[in-house]
């Protein structure tokens, strides 16, 4: 038998839950729209750690001072930035601006996520006046069908980092004809291996190699493409319908790369009695270089800031990469795009223009973000070429800029890269012959390139 009290208690419970719901809905509203004082607000997602924070802390007020009618609202994304961007676009709440690396850009670009900038650029007289100071190469990563969908504000250039102390120590005890010079553009691939062999040593006499001539970092596109180019081949054909990995030159190229650890033993090997752990996400090649155990490592310029801070026990500098049949190097840009759903493209463009202006570029340089896109700054010994900021010989970057190439732009870049890597990995760890892996990789890539056609 139920009593009246139980009835009432149930009703109370129901009423309480309804009340809680209403309270939630009403009070839960997130951060209110700030009063912009009549200014247009544009949203900018920011990511990338400490230095970027400090840079934006100076950049944004400087921009707002130059353009008092615009206010920039930051959205902080400490990690998984591209995932959050997709989610925001999917939910219809995309920000106005979107920082992009040229490597990731095509996947968004081919899905019409961004606005073309050509008209906005034309209308901006101030920009037109100084447009010739920007390296034209930095535009190519953002181009599609003759239109520009973003603008680069900093470059990521490739060179060979080398451990000067290792070279000097070797030269101290080496006979006259055996001395090694620092990496430079006269080297071909055989010379590179020769020097690496000389610098792969057992330095503490325990019978195990602990110092290496070079180090390899897996098989992502930005590593394999320059190597293929040195042997005269692009990863895909120009129409991007076929992968060239099954061609003899490609197999030769990959064989050379995998031989570095497995045959010439000049790089840490992933297998065998002297196996070393390299290339995982939280333990990449940079750590071994920073520990002073690697003589040469070809990598992008962004690492120099970390090296500046963390390398205290040896000296280091950069040199030009070796050439194969051809000179080749990687190339990459950090840029900014305007999302297709933005309601304030004009104001958003103003920010992009500011980033590439001398004032903006100087702020970037001051906070150690990338390499400027302005020729005047890059070639000036006062700014970029200042030898006091390591590495001392930054003009090497300007040389690799000339023949550096970005990775091919694909609609489904990550899927293709993942499929190719999965196959090539077997050769990298020496479990399957290179030819077989390259052919399998090309097959998988061709299948996925089918989906790229439209």
């Amino acid at each position: 038998m139920r009593t009246e009290t139980s009835w009432r208690k149930c009703l109370c419970l129901l009423a309480a839950s309804v009340l809680v719901l209403v309270v939630c809905l009403v009070t839960g509203c997130g951060s209110k729209e700030e009063d912009a004082g009549g200014r247009t607000i544009i949203t900018l997602p920011t990511t990338g750690g400490d230095r970027m924070e400090k840079m934006y802390a100076e950049m944004i007020p400087a921009f707002e001072k130059a353009h008092p009618d615009v206010k920039v609202k930051r959205m902080d994304v400490p990690g998984s930035y591209y995932i959050k961007l997709q989610i925001m676009i999917a939910a219809g709440s995309a920000p106005d601006l979107a920082p992009m690396m040229t490597m990731r850009l095509p996947m968004f670009l081919y899905r019409n996520a961004f606005l073309p900038l050509n008209d906005l650029m034309q209308a901006d007289n101030e920009f037109q006046a100084r447009k010739s100071d920007i390296y034209e190469k930095t535009w190519s990563g953002f181009e599609k069908d003759g239109k520009l969908y973003g603008l680069a504000y900093s470059q990521n250039l490739y060179a060979v980092y080398y451990n000067k102390t290792i070279f000097d120590t070797y030269n101290k005890t080496a006979p006259e004809g055996e001395k090694v010079e620092y990496p430079n553009s006269t080297w071909d691939l055989d010379k590179f291996v020769e020097v690496a062999k000389k610098l792969t040593l057992d330095t503490d006499g325990d019978g195990r190699i602990d110092q290496y001539g070079t180090i390899s970092s897996g098989t992502p596109f930005y590593v394999t493409c320059p190597i293929l180019r040195r042997f005269g081949l692009e990863l895909f054909n120009p129409e991007k319908t076929k992968c060239n990995l099954d061609r003899p030159e490609a197999i030769e190229a990959m064989q050379w790369y995998f031989d570095l650890p497995l045959k010439y033993h000049v790089a840490p090997s992933p297998v065998g009695p002297d196996a070393r752990s390299v290339g995982a996400v939280a333990g990449g090649p940079q750590e071994m270089f920073m520990a002073g155990r690697v003589a040469m490592w070809e990598a992008e310029s962004e690492w120099r800031f970390e090296f500046n801070k963390k390398i205290k026990s040896f000296e280091w500098d950069i040199g030009e990469p070796p050439h194969g049949r051809f000179k080749a190097a990687g190339f990459e840009c950090f840029g900014m795009s305007i999302t297709a759903s933005s309601k304030h493209p004009k104001e958003a463009w103003k920010f992009i223009g500011f980033l590439t202006s001398p004032e903006g570029q100087k702020i970037l340089l001051k906070h150690e973000i990338g390499i400027p896109v302005l020729k005047s700054l890059c070639q000036s010994p006062e700014y970029f070429l200042n030898p006091k900021d390591l590495p001392a010989h930054k003009e090497v970057y300007l040389k690799t800029l000339e023949y550096g190439e970005d990775i091919p732009s694909l609609r489904n870049f990550q899927e293709v890269e993942s499929a190719i890597s999965d196959q090539l990995d077997w050769a990298r760890i020496g479990k399957k012959p290179t030819e077989e892996c390259c052919k399998a990789a090309a097959r998988e890539a061709d299948k996925l390139l089918e989906e790229n056609k439209d």
Binding site: L14, M107, A275, S277, V281, A282, D422
Partner: protein, 308 residues
């Protein structure tokens, strides 16, 4: 008629009012997104452009097969099956964890000094943030100077490159999972369950002269049946959804040998821009887990021991 209907209405009202606080939130934040993902499974969606209806296209791409140029029958998505294999392989740690946790729970159930401290220490891995655990294990498994290869080298053998070798990466994750899980939640559940077995049963058994093994086999084990069921079901669900450690430590490598099914779903959803395909995969996964759970249930029914 009237009294019964009134009682029924009252019962329904009571039931739903108890549910009310939970069910509205559940519907809004859990059930609706889940249903949405089911709908998405029938579309091709890249998160940026509008979804396109493809019917069962995602499911045939996932589960189907075709004949290639050489006349062989080949799965449409061999990587899916590979990931499934990886996931099941790495879930082999579950029985290990259960055995280890049970042993620990049995040991810590006695009145030994310092059990509370010990239990706390064993639980440390579970309460640490994943990034710290990942970093620590990257160091432990380092082939050159890591702890494990150091210990192995004292025995005169050279340890492998755990996370860089296709043959050893999965076992490495089994090791990590077992180490972390053995003193964790599972152990707590067993402890709680062991507490509930009345001491009289054991006393009676001892009077009858039963050995410790017999006491375990005929009293403890059957009475743990229900908690075992819960642990296995949640273990399977958890195993099929895990990929955080693999993401941080090996990025699914080498050669895709540690890519779990959840990792593959994640990649499809956010790296390959194939959210519809990922949703279809999630639902196929659901179906598999559901079938496994039903089988468990039927199997367990025969071994479950209940008081009332």
């Amino acid at each position: 008629m009237k009294p019964t209907t009134r009682r029924k209405v009252r019962r329904a009202l009571t039931g739903y009012s108890f549910l009310s606080l939970n069910i509205v939130g559940f519907m809004v934040f859990t059930a609706i997104p889940v249903v949405a993902s089911l709908v998405l499974a029938f579309f091709a969606y890249d998160n940026i452009t509008a979804p396109k209806f493809v019917g069962v296209g995602n499911f045939t791409s996932l589960l189907g097969w075709h004949v290639d140029q050489t006349g062989r029958v080949v799965m449409n998505d061999p990587k899916f099956w590979n990931c499934l294999y990886n996931t099941v392989f790495m879930m082999l740690g579950l029985p290990l964890t259960m055995v280890g946790s049970l042993a620990l729970a049995l040991a810590l159930n006695r009145k030994l000094p310092g059990t509370i401290t010990l239990r706390t220490v064993y639980y440390l891995p579970t309460i640490s943030p994943m990034i710290a655990v990942a970093l620590v294990w990257l160091w432990i498994l380092n082939p050159e100077y890591g702890l494990i290869n150091y210990l192995i080298s004292r025995l005169g053998v050279q340890g492998p490159n755990w996370l860089g070798d296709t043959a050893w990466a999965k076992p490495a994750f089994i090791l990590i999972g077992t180490w972390g899980g053995i003193g964790g939640f599972t152990m707590l559940l067993y402890l709680a369950a062991l507490q509930g077995i009345p001491g009289v049963y054991y006393e009676a058994a001892e009077i009858d002269g039963a050995s410790p093994w017999k006491r375990f086999r005929y009293i403890t084990w059957p009475l743990l049946g229900p908690v075992n069921f819960f642990i296995i079901v949640m273990g399977i669900i958890g195993g099929f959804q895990a990929f955080g450690m693999q993401y941080v430590m090996t990025s699914g490598g080498p050669a895709g040998s540690t890519t779990t099914i959840a990792y593959y779903i994640f990649n499809n959803a956010f790296s390959f821009f194939k959210m519809g395909y990922a949703s279809a995969m999630a639902w196929v996964l659901f179906f598999m887990i559901f079938v496994l759970t039903i089988l468990q249930w039927r199997f367990r029914r025969r071994y479950t021991f209940q008081y009332d």
